[in-house]
Symmetry: C2
Subunit: 215 residues, 2 copies
């Protein structure tokens, strides 16, 4: 018996974030899939659920929720254990600032619809689109590595020794980087944290390769 229905796609890193949160918090969920490359997220029945035509959408508690970061905050407010945000306001601000650096400064610029637009609008080929992707990763991963390496609040994970929203945004980005051949050598702290996350079943089960729609 499931408590929720997630509309996602195996490679969608925003769906990946929500899968990790549901797994960590022990929410039983079913999945249905919208193949992004086939444009299934723009089908009329899906637009009724999610007018932006974006993934993911989570049906839970009789509600239909959109925008992955909003879904994560909702899950945290309604299912507080295990906590994905620290208790103190300063700690919460640090976690959110790390999460948003990833979720705002990389993913929106590098997602599929933007890369496709670069091709049609500016005639970018696959290699030019990949170079764009790697550029915006580097612009943010450099400062992020500095912060995570130098700030005392960093522990086994981005903030202390349990995963937070920041880790939920970090791992899908690192996994996404692999497809675009990002050199991770300059980011030893990020790589260490990513490896620590992937030791946990909640993260492993959420990996794109482990979804029923994986190709």
């Amino acid at each position: 018996m499931s408590d929720a229905l997630l509309h996602g796609y195996f490679r969608s890193s925003t769906s990946f974030r929500v899968r990790i949160a549901l797994n960590l918090k022990g929410v039983a969920y079913d999945q249905t899939f919208r193949h992004l490359r086939k444009g299934e997220q723009r089908a009329p029945d899906y637009l009724k659920l999610n007018p932006q035509g974006l993934l993911p959408t989570l049906e839970i508690d009789g509600q239909t929720l959109t925008q992955s970061l909003s879904i994560l905050e909702y899950l945290e407010e309604t299912r507080p254990n295990p906590a994905l945000l620290p208790k103190d306001a300063i700690g919460r601000a640090r976690v959110r600032s790390l999460a948003y650096a990833l979720a705002l400064e990389i993913h929106p610029i590098n997602n599929l619809r933007v890369l496709e637009d670069l091709k049609t609008r500016f005639g970018a080929d696959d290699e030019a689109a990949a170079a764009w992707f790697r550029h915006w990763v580097a612009v943010t991963f450099g400062p992020l590595e500095t912060r995570l390496a130098n700030e005392p609040q960093t522990g086994a994970f981005c903030h202390g020794d349990a995963p937070t929203l920041a880790d939920l945004c970090l791992v899908p980005q690192v996994i996404n980087n692999i497809r675009f051949k990002v050199d991770m050598t300059p980011y030893p702290t990020i790589s260490r944290i990513n490896a620590a996350c992937l030791e946990l079943d909640a993260f492993k089960a959420a990996l794109p390769a482990n979804q029923p729609d994986a190709e």
Copy 2:
């Protein structure tokens, strides 16, 4: 006597969001300015405060906070009145989903450093960069107008009859649109809410044109 120091720029819409929140919550603050077009956000002294070299940074309560959305959540947690999020989890999820549609799906793709990169990387001229800007506004403003026009929770503002995080993200985007000559005719609900916000002193005082560094 000020309680906070905001490092911003008059035209920075992320700084604009924070100015509105500080004004609404009655936090006395000083401002210092980093001229984005002159690259002052990449000066070594600023990078110590904000390793990403992005605006804004808020110094408050003895802390240095980055990422505007994280700052807004911090202000809401530490200075809850007037509330910028509803009390119910579903309402909060709605407000955040509206805010994030604006803050994630438009602004990161359309900010100055991305537009400059389009010029150097793909040879885009000013008009091509403006067309890109308008495209990504339209992609999100269409569904946003639909949601705001049809969802019963919309009131005088995005959610009910008092401003929330969604309005704090909406107004700076609408003001930004003017410079790029976005036709607002298809968005009567967004325009109505924007006008209602700009009746409030907290929003008016935060307008780019009303900052000391306005050109």
